[in-house]
């Protein structure tokens, strides 16, 4: 029996609409999403670089100096700047969308999204200030 004989007696022939390969270029929203997803690649490579720094440090001064010299290479500097931009993009976009997952009800009203976003920026700045303070040896 051919496939045609197996079909139910119906004139329905639904037409599939596959997503085009370049769907992520379709709208600004999709492009921003694709950029946010792509940022993970840069962050991943950056993390490998940091892990390499730890290994280099454990192997002694000479390896550590070599790692430092590698960081001064123009290509690595450009990569680090792009990674910084990607981290900022990640942070800003995630701060913006996080009120969707965090719902705080105050009596008969929902806490405004802007307050939740502001709280995240405040927490980020507190952590940043603590890190800077620690990096300066705990002195103000």
């Amino acid at each position: 029996m051919s496939d045609l004989d197996q079909r139910p007696a119906s004139n329905r022939r639904p037409l599939a609409q596959p997503l085009p390969r370049t769907w992520f270029l379709g709208t600004t929203e999709y492009r921003l999403y694709a950029l946010r997803e792509a940022s993970a690649l840069f962050l991943g490579i950056f993390v490998i670089n940091v892990c390499w720094a730890v290994v280099a440090l454990s192997r002694g001064l000479e390896t550590w100096e070599r790692w430092l010299a590698f960081q001064r290479h123009p290509a690595v500097v450009v990569f680090t700047v792009i990674t910084l931009a990607m981290v900022l993009l990640q942070s800003v976009t995630w701060f913006q969308v996080s009120p969707k997952a965090i719902r705080v009800r105050l009596g008969e009203r929902q806490l405004r999204a802007s307050w939740i976003i502001a709280a995240q920026y405040a927490a980020a700045f507190v952590v940043l200030a603590l890190l800077i303070w620690r990096a300066r040896g705990g002195r103000s």
């Binding site: 045609l4 079909r7 004139n11 329905r12 022939r13 639904p14 037409l15 599939a16 609409q17 596959p18 997503l19 769907w23 992520f24 379709g26 709208t27 929203e29 999709y30 999403y33 997803e37 969308v97 969707k100 997952a101 719902r103 009800r105 009596g107 008969e108 009203r109 929902q110």
Partner: protein
């Protein structure tokens, strides 16, 4: 003052009378499932889709739904599309206008460029012209058990009004936004994950699940979890967020999906702890 009695619509310049504004070129996606057969071929195969263009006269109040009706009445009676309430509440007339999902009844030709392209909702199979197959969505909707379940009878309907069904306005606030969904499927057309991953429950079905699970009268979350915490449940969502952007009722399905992920994750964590305790 013109307009209806007791309302102020006459105070809006465009509401009292419609002014002719000219014509626009409306290009419409066409598809016949059996055009090959209709043309005498012995092969019962669906025809290839094509586009038809029409010059459509419009005024200040002509919606895309009106334009399609005009085409059907005056140019091509075979054009197939869905439309019902014409006031953005039935969710029938969702389609792609210039590549973006819109309700045909709430989108006006006056706001669109001179060239308007109308196509069926993306990511869904087309039955004929602008009509899409809504069956997969209806199956997903059934899967999440969209009804209130009482603690005593978590398998079936519980519509009996009782003391337990009383609710404060504050409790209603937890789900009210999600209850505005009209199942128009604009969110499915906007969601790339629906396109990639056909078994995905999708934004609207998950939103409806959360509408009931966040209701203080409902005790059915555990019954909905197998559908939500499945591979094709909430997890294919990668938070593109387009579903919330296109929603014509401000439902924010992206928020509902993230809340559903929290519910599923919490249930998994609780399950793990309970399993350890048993050992």
């Amino acid at each position: 003052m013109s307009g209806c009695e007791g309302c102020n619509c006459g105070s809006r310049p465009d509401a009292a009378e419609s002014r002719p504004l000219g014509t626009k070129r409306v290009t419409v996606f066409r598809y016949r499932p059996c055009s090959a057969v209709e043309q005498g071929s012995t092969e019962p195969r669906g025809g290839e889709p094509w586009y038809d263009a029409f010059e459509v006269p419009y005024d200040t109040g002509t919606s895309v739904a009106d334009a399609l009706g005009w085409i059907k009445d005056n140019r091509d009676a075979t054009l197939a599309f869905r439309v019902s309430c014409r006031m953005g509440i039935c969710g029938s007339c969702g389609l792609m206008v210039n590549g973006k999902p819109h309700l045909a009844c709430e989108t006006f030709l006056r706001d669109l460029p001179d060239e308007v392209t109308i196509a069926p909702l993306a990511n869904l199979d087309v039955e004929r012209d602008l009509i899409v197959d809504k069956e997969p969505f209806l199956a997903a909707l059934t899967e999440v058990k969209p009804w209130l379940m009482s603690a005593a009878n978590a398998d079936g309907f519980d519509t009996a009004l009782s003391e337990n069904n009383r609710q404060t306005p504050a409790q209603m606030l937890d789900y009210q936004q999600f209850a505005q969904c009209i199942n128009c499927l604009l969110c499915y057309a906007a969601c790339p994950q629906v396109g990639f991953n056909r078994p995905f429950l999708g934004p609207a079905a998950i939103t409806v699940a959360m509408r009931y699970s966040r209701d203080s009268r409902d005790h059915g979350t555990a019954q909905r979890l197998p559908a939500l915490d499945a591979e094709s449940g909430v997890w294919p969502c990668t938070f593109v967020g387009a579903c919330s952007t296109v929603c014509p009722k401000g439902v924010d399905p992206a928020a509902a999906v993230q809340l559903a992920k929290l519910v599923a994750a919490k249930a998994r964590a609780t399950g793990l702890i309970k399993r350890k305790e048993k050992r």
